[in-house]
């Protein structure tokens, strides 16, 4: 009897210890994780890939492909076909998925753009689809995403941690991730309210925004992102955006130190 009780206590102690222990590192050894590292830049220079310089959608891509495959459009400038496809994806894909609250913020007033007015760096939704360089560094337990625009960094934790209970909201949010085969999967929460993506989502999002990003390198020269964004305040249902980069090892990210806030210039003008 005593032996059984001792065993039970021991098992119970072990169970409690297991539950209260720090998360087991889920680090992925280099030889088994996909190699996404390096400098990535603008998209491959094709008509379809160029549509995904910023955020694009499958709906917009299909529309552009149809326009490109119609001989009647062969003489039309590419910018016109692209502009038509941007309008199509907004009308057919995004706007039907936006709530009344989200629609009320669209289109955004460019003169109220805080990046323009105050040189305020972009938040997550803009930055993840920024039309500039992205440098990826992979460690065993984290990934650093370094963006050319604003010289900004995001850290994606791969060590199996949960979001800290006292985590505050920040413009770029808090990101944890893991690998699934050839794909880096990143889950982001705790993003402060901000502007939607360039090109595809011309409206505001709330601090309830969450995202699941999936980064994949289908060949050495190409990096693809497919991201699902959810925001019960701005969106009736999740939306999926895409982006593509080409490998550009010869490029580097320079300092971002010459931004001139328009608000300051305007104030100077009024003072004179």
């Amino acid at each position: 009897m005593f032996g059984i009780a001792t065993t039970l206590v021991l098992l119970l102690t072990l169970a409690i210890a297991a539950c209260s222990a720090p998360p087991t590192p889920a680090a992925t050894p280099p030889q088994t994780r996909p190699d996404l590292a390096g400098m990535w830049s603008d998209p491959p220079r094709t008509a379809l890939d160029s549509f995904c310089f910023m955020a694009c959608t499958e709906t917009g891509l299909k529309h552009l492909a149809a326009l490109l495959d119609d001989p009647a459009n062969d003489a039309r400038p590419y910018e016109g076909l692209m502009g038509e496809s941007v309008g199509y994806q907004a009308a057919e894909y995004l706007r039907p998925r936006m709530t009344d609250a989200g629609l009320a913020t669209s289109p955004l007033d460019p003169l109220a753009d805080r990046g323009y007015l105050y040189c305020e760096p972009w938040g997550f939704a803009r930055q993840a689809f920024a039309p500039h360089q992205l440098e990826i560094k992979q460690d065993a337990d984290s990934v650093d995403l370094h963006y050319g625009e604003w010289d900004a960094h995001r850290t994606v934790y791969l060590d199996g941690r949960s979001v800290p209970a006292d985590q505050v909201h920040t413009p770029l949010g808090y990101s944890v991730g893991h690998y699934e085969g050839d794909t880096l999967v990143v889950e982001t929460t705790h993003v402060t309210e901000g502007d939607g993506t360039l090109m595809a989502w011309d409206g505001r999002h709330s601090d309830q925004l969450t995202a699941v990003e999936r980064y994949r390198r289908p060949n050495p020269e190409r990096l693809e992102l497919t991201a699902t964004l959810t925001d019960p305040w701005a969106l009736r249902e999740p939306v999926e955006f895409k982006k593509v980069w080409r490998f550009a090892p010869d490029q580097e990210i320079g300092p971002y130190d010459s931004c001139e806030p328009a608000a300051a210039k305007s104030a100077e003008g009024k003072a004179q």
Binding site: R45, A47, E79, E84, P110, L111, G115, Y116, L198, G254
Partner: protein, 151 residues
Amino acid sequence: MKPKHLVSFACAMLAAAALAPAAAHHSFAAVFDGSKIVTLDGTIKEFKFVNPHALATIDVTDDKGAVQPWTVEFDGRLNLTNFGWTDATIRSGERVKISGNPERTGAPRIFFSKLVRADGTAVVRGGDRLNAIEEDRRLRAAQRATSTPAK
């Protein structure tokens, strides 16, 4: 302008920005008039190859001999690098004709679209990418022609 036309115009502006996304950190449409082009004939005073946007000052002399400095805003160094630009692509003291979209306020400032040097050679915004895209379109059209069964 009807709302539908406004949307089309905005989409076209977005598309143009996407090809050479100069206006990424601020809205191009908020600052510059994409429907107008101004050409300046003058001498480059300074070219700053910086982020978020490269900047040049060009001295333009009017008919009465007065010199008016204009500011030319370019894509950022980030994107210009993609197009093969360096800090030596435009040189101080160089005589050029620069075309671009004027600032809406009427201030002496344009957003770069094309530069023609004294020897006639030209630098066009996003030129390499646009050329590659047009080549891709020609290939698509050729494949379409060969794959379409003859009637």
